[in-house]
Structure formats: C-alpha cells, structure tokens
C-alpha cells in the first residue's frame, strides 16, 4: 500500500470482531492459527456472514473463486485438480507460495475438500490485506493523491471523500498467478 493507513493488526482485529459476532465465540478463543472450521466451528453460512461483514467494513470485494479455479482457467483443465478430485503437485506448489506458513499442512494428493479446514484466521487476514494493498495511487473520482481514514477501516479520498476503489479479489489472484508463472514457470 502506498500509504500505510490500515495495519495488519487492525485487519486482524476487524476479522476477530466479525468472527465473534457471527460465531458467538469468546474473543480469547481466537488465535491467528485457529482454523475457522476445526477450531472455531464455522459452517458455510458463517463464512458468508464473516466475508460480507469484512467487505462492508473495508469497502472492498473478496474473491468469489478460489485459487484452484483460477489455476485451471489460466493453465488448463487438470492443472490444479486431477480426475479423482485431488490436488496436483503444481497446485500445492502455488498454494504454498501463496499462503506460505499461514497454511502449513498442504500436501500433494490431498483431496479438494480437505482444503477449507486448513484456512486460518491468519490466512484470511492475509487475504484482506492483499486487497487493501491494491489501494490506487489516485482517487478514481477526483484524481486526488491523498487518502484518509477516520475509523481506521474505511479509506476515503482526502479531497472529495469518495471511498477508495480497491481491485477485487479475483482480479488480484489472476494478476498474482500471472506474475508467479512469469517468475517461476510452473506450467
């Protein structure tokens, strides 16, 4: 982010707030390493609820398609998932680059449906940070170069007050995959 207005700690705090409101768990039971499914008991409706709360708080759009789908869209059918629904070695390689130590248990040959339980509070925080870091240089409405935030979560143009227009999560994943492929020639 060109102007460091929202810190990772702030995103983590907001995510914890969304989790507490959605799952009715005690804030002290949430750690960065918590798996939302295994440790905090989240089900699918909770994921929708939490993600919509984050979108509203920060004024951005999360990805609607998981990285695995983007991999197959860009690099062809079978690139990420084999005929038995298992993750390919290349898919694991990419996920490891993307999530790093935030998701340590990725293994080639694992089933697709094992992935959601690996996602943690930390990996979700990272997902939000990636989007916030796409803050443009200038306001898309008036061209003003300064951003401000009053509540520490919503970034607005300092000149006209327009909400910052972040790149949406799916476009960021595509750009990231293009970059990684150029650098590492995985496919």
């Amino acid at each position: 982010m060109s102007q460091n207005l929202i810190t990772e700690e702030k995103v983590y705090e907001e995510l914890k707030k969304a989790i507490v409101e959605t799952l009715r768990v005690d804030e002290s039971s949430i750690t960065p390493e918590s798996s939302l499914i295994n440790d905090l008991g989240a089900e699918s409706l909770d994921f929708l609820d939490i993600n919509y709360r984050l979108e509203q708080a920060f004024g951005m759009k999360m990805a609607r398609h998981f990285v695995l789908e983007h991999i197959e869209d860009m690099f062809g059918e079978g690139a990420a998932i084999d005929e038995d629904g298992r993750l390919t070695e290349k898919a694991i390689e990419l996920l490891k680059i993307r999530f790093g130590e935030n998701v340590p248990d990725l293994k080639p040959g694992m089933d697709m449906d094992e992935v959601p339980a690996l996602l943690t509070v930390k990996s979700m925080t990272q997902g939000v940070m990636d989007i916030l870091q796409s803050l443009p240089e200038k306001c898309t409405k008036c061209g003003g170069p300064e951003w401000k935030t009053e509540d520490g979560v919503k970034i607005k143009c300092a000149s006209c007050g327009e909400n910052a227009a972040f790149t949406n999560g799916d476009d960021l994943i595509k750009a990231w995959l293009t970059r990684v492929q150029e650098e590492k020639k995985i496919f």
């Binding site: 939302l36 499914i37 989240a42 089900e43 699918s44 409706l45 994921f47 929708l48 609820d49 993600n51 919509y52 979108e55 509203q56 999360m62 990805a63 609607r64 398609h65 998981f66 789908e69 197959e72 059918e77 079978g78 998932i81 084999d82 005929e83 038995d84 629904g85 089933d111 697709m112 449906d113 094992e114 992935v115 959601p116 339980a117 996602l119 997902g127």
Partner: protein, 130 residues
C-alpha cells in the same frame, strides 16, 4: 465401474434468513435468476431459499469440493436447482461445478429437498462411470 457420490446438508432456516437478509449481495451472489423467481413466487420465500441453499451445499459435498468454507463461493451459484416439469427439483451444474463433475465423469444428477419446522434438508446423489 459405476461410481456413486452422495452429499447431504441441513440448514437452520432462522439462521439462514438472518444472514440472507443482512447482506444485500447474498441473494444475487448465491442464487440464479430462475431460482430467485421461483422462490419469490412462493408464499414463504425464505424456506425455499433455505432449501435450495441446502441443495447447493449437498451438491458441493457430493462433488467432493467440500462445503463452502473459503468465503463467498461462486460455486454455490453454479449448482442450480430448477423446478422440473412435474415441480420436482432438478440439479444443473455450470462453471467450476461442471468442470469437477466432468473430471469425475458424472452423468446423472438427482436432488431431493425437504423442510420441517425450522429446518430444511437436501440430499444430492451423483452417478458416473469411471
């Protein structure tokens, strides 16, 4: 050899309606135009939306994608429940859901939805030769 894939899901209608009503984009992110039209034509749309949501989750499980625990999952919208000629629900896949079903050579899709009191439940059975 014929393979059978099964998925089941149960939805708390009160909880579903709370999340559904709290977020403006929910209905268009998750339900197709046809699904929206069908549910809205019913006396109590929320129970029908909840039933279809259960069917979508059951579909994800049957496909082996696992329940949607990655965020706002577009695959839910790609698993569409349409009312067949007799009124019985039928399942249709597009996008990523279709891609996965093609990998597994799935050629028959069946879905059944039921509700009672505060709960909606759905099962999906997929079969294919592999």
């Amino acid at each position: 050899m014929m393979q059978i894939y099964q998925g089941v899901d149960i939805v708390d209608v009160v909880k579903f309606s709370k999340v559904f009503n709290a977020h403006r984009d929910f209905v268009s992110d998750i339900f197709s135009g046809k699904e929206r039209a069908y549910c809205m034509s019913k006396r109590d749309p929320s129970i029908h939306f909840a039933g279809r949501f259960a069917a979508k989750e059951a579909g994800l499980k049957a496909l082996g994608i696992g329940f949607s625990g990655r965020g706002i999952d577009h695959t839910l919208k790609e698993i569409e429940v349409i009312a067949g000629p007799s009124g019985r629900p039928e399942l249709s896949f597009s996008g990523w859901a279709k891609k996965i079903s093609r990998k597994k050579r799935i050629d028959r899709l069946t879905v059944s939805i039921s509700h009672s009191g505060n709960y909606a439940v759905a099962t999906v059975i997929l079969t294919g030769d592999k």
